[in-house]
């Protein structure tokens, strides 16, 4: 096996891994603020891509304007989801929450199928398709965009969570919601914020990956699940460990597809998911004290 080939797999694994990381952080933010695993997270990824497409084709917006529009529209869907389905829930037991987020995700996916049909759509790359050679491997400019945008979002997240009042309030909710409420933090508002941030992040992930992989009404399922794997590897942190989790997953998947079998590519992520849940439910880097089981 040539080194060049391995390098190629690793490089393309990094860019899919970055996408998984963004989606995974979205999962973690909602989980930490509310204790909910939002099964509809992947649908925001789908919405991001398809809404960008509509902004480009129907409203004839330039790409730089279409992207913020699509992100805001997806965020509105996220807000509606929280307001209409999660908040009014009378018996918020874990099983009911699982069922309602699954129901919501199917509903969003079905509506997307009505609006955009069952075809796969493509979005133009942000800056051309001319491949760039690195060592013996080549990457596309879009790969660089993905890595750069992921990096910026993660830095922005860090700034928000550690240097703003509302970010700190959200972290307080993650530690202890009751205590956060006692010191005057509006917990329900923080829950809404968490849905806003993670639906926006999901949408961005969907937009930056769409030029590479195409997009359709049903891409959210797999991407969402892979993102969840990344979050599990990272121990449901909304920081660097989930990023590393995403990158590990992306690279392993890419190597597995290249060296073993592309048919089993998707199975790799789920085998990793099961192994981590069985052996280290606190994540690869977590301390054993945080009870995740």
């Amino acid at each position: 096996m040539q080194f060049d080939q391995i390098l190629q797999y690793v490089l393309s694994g990094f860019s899919t891994g970055a996408i998984y990381a963004l989606i995974g952080i979205g999962f973690s933010i909602i989980y930490n603020a509310t204790g909910i695993i939002n099964f509809a997270q992947g649908e925001f990824v789908m919405l991001g891509g398809l809404l960008t497409l509509s902004c480009l084709q129907i409203f004839n917006l330039p790409l730089w304007a279409a992207i913020p529009c699509a992100v805001s529209a997806s965020t509105v869907v996220g807000i509606l989801f929280e307001r209409l389905a999660i908040r009014p829930l009378r018996q918020p037991t874990p099983i009911n929450l699982v069922i309602i987020t699954i129901g919501g995700s199917i509903l969003i996916r079905g509506l997307a199928m009505l609006v955009w049909g069952k075809d796969t759509h493509s979005i133009p790359a942000f800056s051309g398709d001319a491949p760039i050679a690195i060592g013996g491997a080549t990457i596309l400019p879009q790969h660089l965009w993905i890595l750069a945008i992921t990096l910026i979002i993660i830095l922005a997240n860090k700034l928000y969570f550690y240097h703003t009042i509302s970010g700190k309030a959200m972290r307080a909710c993650a530690y202890n919601r009751r205590a956060a409420g006692l010191v005057g933090i509006d917990v329900r508002r923080m829950v809404l914020f968490s849905f806003i941030i993670s639906s926006a992040m999901g949408a961005v992930a969907g937009i930056i990956v769409a030029p590479l992989t195409m997009t359709a009404y049903d891409v959210g399922v797999m991407l969402g699940l892979k993102g969840f794997c990344a979050a599990i590897i990272g121990g449901m942190s909304s920081g660097i460990s989930t990023v590393i989790g995403g990158l590990i997953l992306g690279v392993l998947e890419s190597l597995g597809a290249g060296l073993i079998s592309s048919g089993y590519k998707d199975a790799i992520a789920f085998i990793i998911l099961l192994l981590i849940l069985f052996i280290r439910p606190q994540g690869l880097f977590g301390k054993a004290d945080s009870e995740r089981v």
Partner: protein, 319 residues
């Protein structure tokens, strides 16, 4: 207990008389599917409704039963009556083994882990082409035969499937009313409390998971032998969600609820022909609406709503 038995006898009588009412026809075929789905919904309900453990991978066990039966009877030329229990035993052992680590997880984590398991099984169906035929499916599975009768028509299959479904129902009702059923409900409410009262919660959860997988596998075998053709799309993630929808809208922890849920979700697409792409939206909507407004499912929600209306009328009449 006697009332239960009476109700069950009445229900069985109705089921057995149904073919006389519908006199063959296309509906018989649909009712065969209602029977299979009832078995599957009951299997999932034992796990989710009674023991409180979610599974989003039950389509996988259903598929394993179907494929094991299909492969054993076509490539290995085994008698279908032998293949069916053999498949069930294999699936039961598998579920029992994976049950120990997987049922240590709770709530959302259990949901994701079982979902992952279901998807892995689905991928294996697609990729082991020499065995399963891959995405193009496995055909030529023989019908079941009993004393010279081959179960190859809808009416014969109806009696076969519903005979099994009623047996599963009776077994599950008895199980739910037994010591085991009470232990399961105790685990549902509080594992710690159940353990303090001497219930081996960990083992019990694995046992019910395996039992649930075995019933699903039997339903899968029956499906394979009545359809004579199977392909992976019937056993994907969407079908796991459909099963979950049946159990939830029927009513968690109610055997007849599972029948209602299975019947509604199987018949609904038939009445919505032409709208066949939209059924997924309806499932999603039903799930959301049921959890929000009728968390007890149809078996509890509809009588409660009825009582409310009656009471309101009484109040009005008095005034």
């Amino acid at each position: 207990m006697r009332r239960d038995l009476l109700f069950f006898s009445g229900f069985s009588l109705l089921v057995m008389l149904a073919p006389q009412l519908f006199k063959g026809g296309y509906l018989m075929n649909v009712l065969v599917f209602v029977g299979i789905n009832t078995m599957l919904a009951i299997a999932l309900n034992l796990l989710l409704g009674y023991a409180g453990q979610i599974s989003l991978g039950h389509a996988g066990f259903f598929g394993l039963g179907a494929y094991l039966s299909g492969i054993l009877t076509t490539t290995a030329n085994l008698n279908p009556w032998l293949a069916m229990p053999l498949a069930a035993i294999i699936v039961g052992c598998l579920a029992g083994t994976i049950g120990f680590p997987i049922l240590k997880l709770k709530g959302h984590y259990l949901a994701m882990a079982t979902l992952g398991l279901g998807i892995i099984i689905y991928i294996v169906f697609n990729e082991t082409i020499e065995l399963t035929g891959g995405p193009s499916g496995l055909s030529g599975i023989p019908n079941l035969k009993l004393a010279g009768i081959s179960f190859d028509s809808d009416v014969k299959n109806y009696y076969l499937i519903w005979g099994m479904a009623l047996a599963v129902m009776l077994f599950s009702i008895n199980l739910a009313n037994s010591r085991v059923g009470r232990a399961l409900r105790a685990v549902h409410d509080s594992e710690v409390a159940a353990q303090v009262l001497g219930v081996n919660a960990r083992l019990l959860k694995v046992q019910i998971f395996a039992l649930s997988a075995v019933i699903s596998s039997l339903a899968g075998s029956l499906y394979a032998h009545t359809m004579t053709f199977i392909s992976p799309t019937s056993f994907g993630f969407n079908f796991s969600i459909e099963l979950l929808t049946m159990v939830v809208i029927g009513g968690l922890g109610s055997i007849y609820g599972s029948f209602l849920g299975a019947a509604l979700l199987t018949l609904l697409p038939e009445f919505l022909r032409g709208a066949n792409d939209y059924d997924i939206i309806i499932y999603g909507g039903l799930l959301v609406v049921m959890v929000m407004f009728m968390p007890g499912g149809m078996v509890r929600g509809i009588p409660a709503a009825f009582r409310k209306v009656v009471r309101r009328k009484e109040v009005r009449d008095h005034a």
